[in-house]
């Protein structure tokens, strides 16, 4: 049952081939046996998970099952889940037990899914390697000396190591797509506004968006159905009628127009990545797609613009961690100001502090126009480039990441080098567009390569179709990491 698709798991549960308690137990056993080597989970609570599984089995017996009823799903530890420790990868929230459920967690609970545990992540989702977590780095199941990517690295590694059939993540600058690429799994960042941010611990509110990670596009569609939905408690949640994201999965790709931005195929990309992505695009041509060159000139400034906008919003969002209402408080201090300063100095790690300081600086008196407003104007240019490109194509394809998984410790000394890991993913966040990463090859060292598919607003069903038809022709998404075979 471990290598099975979600659809098949759902059918097997309905047919009583096995129960949710057995399925959940099998995954809990795999976590117990393998997670010491991967560190994908921050919190596992077998009693709670198995109680949810028992309730799911009763629901299935009553004939009231939905597609995800009884299916265990791991959640990035950024989602508040009532009663669960919710740390966001930080010492600041090391002992925070959420008093409420995020909208997304509520949706999974209503669907009867089982919460398999909370996955490791870069602290407050700030990182591209999962090395900034207070709970230690996550290791890539393909090579445990390498990073899994970040910030949803625990979720990506959990799926890649077969410790969970599917997981949730969040993506502010590539945090679903980049770890999906580095771990050889499929991951989708939806159009901004489709998935409620209520109860999702905020990093950069105008960019943050939750989404699924799973083994295939077909599985992503099923999880996405549960994650998407209007929520009045998130002021940016969009009111749209419900879609079934799997509805177009099998449609032929004849006539599909793929845009190839030259800015995404330039210097800085490894030769192995280039080769795999070129081969994937050739495969799409065989499937009846045509390719067209498009231009996204402002994308080259998306990394600098992002490293103004995201830290600026983070500096504001993270001001809430003051040691007063929840979370960590320093033990020794002289007065209120000293309590704030020591609490935040001790509660936050180096990367989070760095970004708060960048954000505070760019928003400070005299610098606002030069940095924040300029970044927002570039953001407009990035979005316009995409709008023009989508007049000539249906989807845009590129590598997800310029390199495959790098070694733990390799990029920690140089923040700029780390920031450039997200060079191909950030522009979609600035524009608010949906993006998918699917496995499309292995490099010389046997590490996965990801293909990024960016679509127009609300074109998730079509993008999943584009990903699924490729996955029906190729087997990259079926390749298993060594840990998954244990």
């Amino acid at each position: 049952m471990i290598d099975t698709s979600l659809k098949q798991l759902s059918a097997d549960l309905a047919a009583k081939k096995f129960s949710s308690v057995e399925l959940t137990g099998a995954y809990l056993d795999r976590i117990e046996a393998n997670d010491a080597a991967i560190n994908a989970f921050i919190t596992v609570d077998p009693d709670v998970s198995l109680a949810q599984a028992r309730a799911a089995d009763e629901r299935i017996a009553r004939g009231e099952a939905q597609p995800l009823t009884g299916i265990p799903v791991a959640h990035k530890d950024i989602w508040c889940a009532k009663g669960w420790r919710t740390t966001c990868g930080s010492r600041m929230l090391e002992n925070f037990r959420s008093p409420y459920d995020a909208h997304v967690i509520q949706r999974f609970n209503e669907a009867g899914a089982v919460n398999l545990g909370k996955t490791n992540m870069d602290e407050f989702a700030m990182g591209s390697s999962n090395e900034t977590s207070f709970f230690g780095p996550v290791r890539n199941p393909w090579d445990t000396a390498c990073v899994p990517g970040g910030s949803s690295g625990g979720s990506a590694a959990a799926v890649a190591a077969a410790l969970a059939p599917a997981a949730t993540g969040t993506d502010t600058g590539g945090s679903i797509r980049q770890p999906a690429a580095l771990c050889g799994v499929s991951g989708l960042k939806p159009t901004y506004g489709l998935v409620s941010r209520y109860g999702m611990i905020a990093f950069a509110s105008s960019l943050d968006q939750g989404g699924p990670l799973a083994k295939s596009a077909e599985d992503l569609a099923l999880v996405l159905d549960t994650m998407v939905g209007f929520d009045a408690r998130d002021s940016t949640s969009l009111e749209r009628s419900a879609e079934e994201y799997a509805r177009m999965l099998e449609e032929p790709l004849q006539g599909l127009r793929i845009g190839l931005p030259k800015e995404y195929f330039g210097e800085g990309m490894s030769a192995d990545v280039r080769k795999s992505v070129d081969e994937a695009i050739d495969e799409y041509r065989k499937l009846g797609a045509t390719t067209v060159d498009v231009e996204l000139p402002a994308s080259e400034l998306s990394v600098p613009a992002y490293y103004v906008i995201a830290p600026a919003e983070a500096s504001s969002n993270l001001s809430r961690y003051d040691g007063v209402r929840y979370g960590y408080r320093a033990e020794n201090y002289d007065d209120l100001l000293d309590m704030y300063c020591k609490t935040r100095a001790q509660g936050f790690g180096a990367e989070v502090k760095r970004r708060i300081l960048i954000g505070t600086y760019v928003l400070s008196h005299g610098y606002y126009d030069a940095y924040y407003l300029q970044a927002q104007r570039i953001r407009r240019l990035v979005a316009r480039d995409f709008a023009q490109a989508f007049e000539h194509c249906d989807v845009i394809m590129s590598p997800t990441s310029p390199s495959t998984a790098f070694r733990i410790g390799d990029r920690t000394a140089d923040p700029v080098q780390m920031y450039l890991s997200d060079i191909y993913t950030i522009a979609a966040n600035l524009a608010g567009l949906p993006g998918i990463s699917i496995p499309c090859g292995l490099d010389g060292a046997g590490l996965p390569v990801g293909l990024q598919i960016i679509g127009n607003y609300f074109s998730e069903a079509r993008m999943l179709n584009v990903a699924n038809v490729y996955q029906k022709q190729t087997d990259w998404h079926l390749r298993k990491s060594p840990v998954a075979s244990n």
Partner: protein, 95 residues
């Protein structure tokens, strides 16, 4: 433009984060590289471009003026570092 150690200390105070001298020096060094990256933004002329603050053209949603939230202060205060008589406790600020 280049930042100074005093800039770093001033910003850290604004952000309410205590930094030691050696931390400030390390941050300053890293800021050098990061702001070189950020300064690339100045290479484009954006005169007349409207700043984009948000991914969607959203407007604030209005709702009817009805009570929707229930009082759950005990639950929410149960995760606070220090509470007494329904109040969050902080060090004394007025002598």
């Amino acid at each position: 433009m280049s930042l100074t150690l005093d800039d770093v200390k001033r910003v850290a105070m604004l952000a309410r984060i205590e930094v030691t001298d050696s931390e400030s020096e390390q941050i300053l060094e890293q800021f050098d590289g990061i702001f070189k990256l950020i300064e690339q933004m100045q290479s484009v002329d954006t005169t007349g471009i409207e700043p984009m603050s948000h991914a969607q053209d959203v407007v604030a949603r209005l709702r009817s003026d009805a009570v929707t939230a229930t009082d759950e202060h005990e639950l929410f205060q149960s995760v606070a570092p220090e509470v007494e008589a329904d109040l969050y406790l902080v060090p004394k600020v007025i002598e």
